[in-house]
């Protein structure tokens, strides 16, 4: 009946729209604006074993059609997330995807083991791609073999399916994707931010205290689409796509490229209602384009017309 429901490993999504990790906290703030049960899922802020304060401020800088952030994985730590945030979120009928981060392998494993036991956590998102932490993080996301090992170890302890979040800051994204697939990943989420920088005109110094930061927003959409296009043809696991999405049209474009669901990050800051607005707009956009179900859009950019199960009439 629904035209938007999507089944993915561990995730029974009423619609394929979810806020991206780090752009929605643990949901509390946006619950002031609308009923979180409306969302397909929620990707919560990265969680580490210990609480983290993150980087010094300024932590954000604007760029043309984008923004840089260098939050540095600030979060209240595993215990608090498990004891406060997730129970609070359980009042909503929405699956949670827990973003798991760390500096060393053991960190990831511990967070994954614990957080995957929480009932409303339906999947993990392994954050091997945060550009804003100095140790560990970034290397996991750029060396295929390291990413594969980490995925395997996390899979061993996780009680729910594991999605691996890929960094776009690599020469060969397909190689990375295949490595984590070989490591047992149930799905991919992509893309994380591109490493970027802005300088202050008056001082000549970096605007961000961390100097560099992660570029997100519409500026990176073409890069995200290209990577999803390449990866979706090379792996057999689903992709949750993200990078600059701000409209229902963008969602369809990501599906065409090969995504099976999408996440919305930066756009929440511009319009706190962007996720429900997109969800509401999708059915009429599907009508306009002649699709019965959103899944018909998936991979159209590379599928032969014959290959499509439900081809547009």
């Amino acid at each position: 009946m629904s035209r938007l429901n999507i089944e993915l490993p561990g995730l029974n999504l009423k619609n394929p729209i979810m806020p991206a990790s780090g752009c929605f906290g643990f949901g509390r703030e946006y619950s002031q604006f609308y009923d979180l049960s409306k969302l397909g899922a929620i990707m919560i802020k990265a969680t580490t074993v210990e609480p983290r304060f993150g980087n010094l401020t300024p932590r954000v800088a604007e760029t043309s059609s984008g923004m840089l952030n260098a939050i540095g994985l600030q979060n209240p730590g595993l215990d608090k997330v498990v004891s406060n945030e997730l129970p609070w979120l359980s009042q909503y009928d929405v699956p949670i995807i827990a973003n798991v981060a760390g500096s060393i392998e053991e960190d990831y494993i511990e967070v994954a083991a614990q957080i995957s036991k929480v009932p409303n956590v339906h999947a993990l998102e392994l954050n091997i791609s945060c550009p804003n932490v100095k140790t560990g993080g970034i290397a996991f996301g750029t060396i295929p073999e390291v990413a594969k090992q980490l995925t395997r170890k996390v899979k061993e302890v996780s009680e729910v399916p594991v999605y691996v979040k890929l960094s776009p800051n690599v020469t060969n994204i397909v190689e990375m994707a295949k490595a984590v697939e070989a490591g047992g990943a149930d799905g991919l989420t992509m893309i994380n931010t591109l490493v970027g920088m802005r300088l202050d005109l008056k001082t000549g110094k970096p605007i961000l205290a961390n100097r560099t930061g992660g570029l997100s927003g519409p500026a990176i959409k073409p890069v995200a689409l290209r990577m999803i296009y390449e990866v979706s043809q090379a792996v057999n696991i689903p992709i949750i796509g993200m990078g600059g999405i701000e409209s229902a049209e963008d969602v369809i474009e990501f599906f065409y490229a090969g995504a099976s669901a999408v996440a919305v990050g930066t756009a929440n800051f511009v319009d706190p209602f962007v996720c429900p607005a997109i969800i509401d707009e999708l059915p009429s956009l599907l009508d306009q384009l002649g699709y019965e179900h959103i899944s018909e859009c998936r991979g159209r950019s590379w599928q032969e017309h014959g290959q499509l199960a439900n081809h547009r009439a």
Partner: protein, 257 residues
């Protein structure tokens, strides 16, 4: 409740060099609960600029469902904002944050309001509310230079008003901190550049002081952790505060600035 509303511009005027006073009508004025709260403005319709801009509420007219802001034309966003005229619609998110606590000072007591540059505007509504409660207010306002001075007359209506300019072209030459040394007060409220806030905090560590902080923001509602500051007590349960949702006003000593 925070609302997102398309607000109609009632008036916009350049009241000093590059300083604009902007009045809009908004249903959410009823939600404004303290002076010092701010709003987050989407300056253009498209993607340029992308992010909203935080601007303080400088005065509220609940009867007419209007509020006023005063801002300096700085970069891209405020330059575009300055081009808007009456009748145009602005996408505003607000009211945001926690403002100045007016009940921290009793009637007949004296409140010292210290503003620097573009930190002056939120003090205006504060002054209105304090005086209407019977509090005695003194204003000390610092500006770069004569052409940047605004609202002296407006503040004078509510209490003594001292002006300092960095170059001495108007009022007293120097910084607000030079002037306030000589004043007596029960509670100090301040908003302005960080060095000024630091100096005041240091000078009056024994006094009741409330500071309004500024930080670069992403969401403006507490979700993105862009605008945090450390709390002074590292042992506390949560060792940080968010300027956008816990602040922008903090009690001196509560956070590290």
């Amino acid at each position: 409740m925070i609302k997102k509303e398309l607000c109609k511009i009632i008036s916009q005027e350049e009241i000093a060099n590059d300083i604009f006073q902007l009045t809009v009508s908004a249903d959410f004025v009823n939600e404004i609960n303290a002076p010092g709260q701010f709003v987050h403005i989407k300056v253009g319709k498209g993607l340029d600029p992308l992010l909203r801009r935080p601007i303080s509420i400088s005065s509220v007219d609940k009867r007419n469902s209007q509020f006023t802001m005063i801002y300096r034309k700085e970069g891209k966003g405020t330059t575009l904002l300055a081009e808007k005229g009456p009748g145009m619609l602005l996408d505003i998110l607000g009211p945001l944050g926690n403002g100045f606590p007016v009940n921290e000072v009793k009637p007949e007591e004296t409140a010292l309001l210290v503003g620097g540059g573009i930190g002056v505007p939120p003090l205006y509504e504060l002054s209105k509310q304090l005086t209407s409660k019977g509090v005695k207010v003194i204003h000390v306002l610092g500006f770069q230079t004569e052409s940047a001075v605004f609202y002296e007359k407006e503040f004078l209506e509510y209490g003594n008003t001292y002006i300092a300019t960095v170059d001495g072209s108007y009022g007293k030459k120097g910084f607000v901190t030079d002037i306030i040394k000589e004043l007596e007060f029960d509670c100090l409220y301040t908003c302005g550049p960080t060095p000024m806030l630091k100096a005041i905090e240091k000078q009056y560590s024994h006094k009741k002081v409330f500071l309004s902080l500024e930080e670069r923001m992403g969401c403006g509602v507490g979700a993105c952790f862009a605008c945090v500051c450390k709390t002074s007590n590292e042992l506390e349960d949560v060792s940080y505060k968010k300027v956008c949702s816990d602040g922008p006003v903090f009690r001196a000593g509560e956070v590290l600035i």
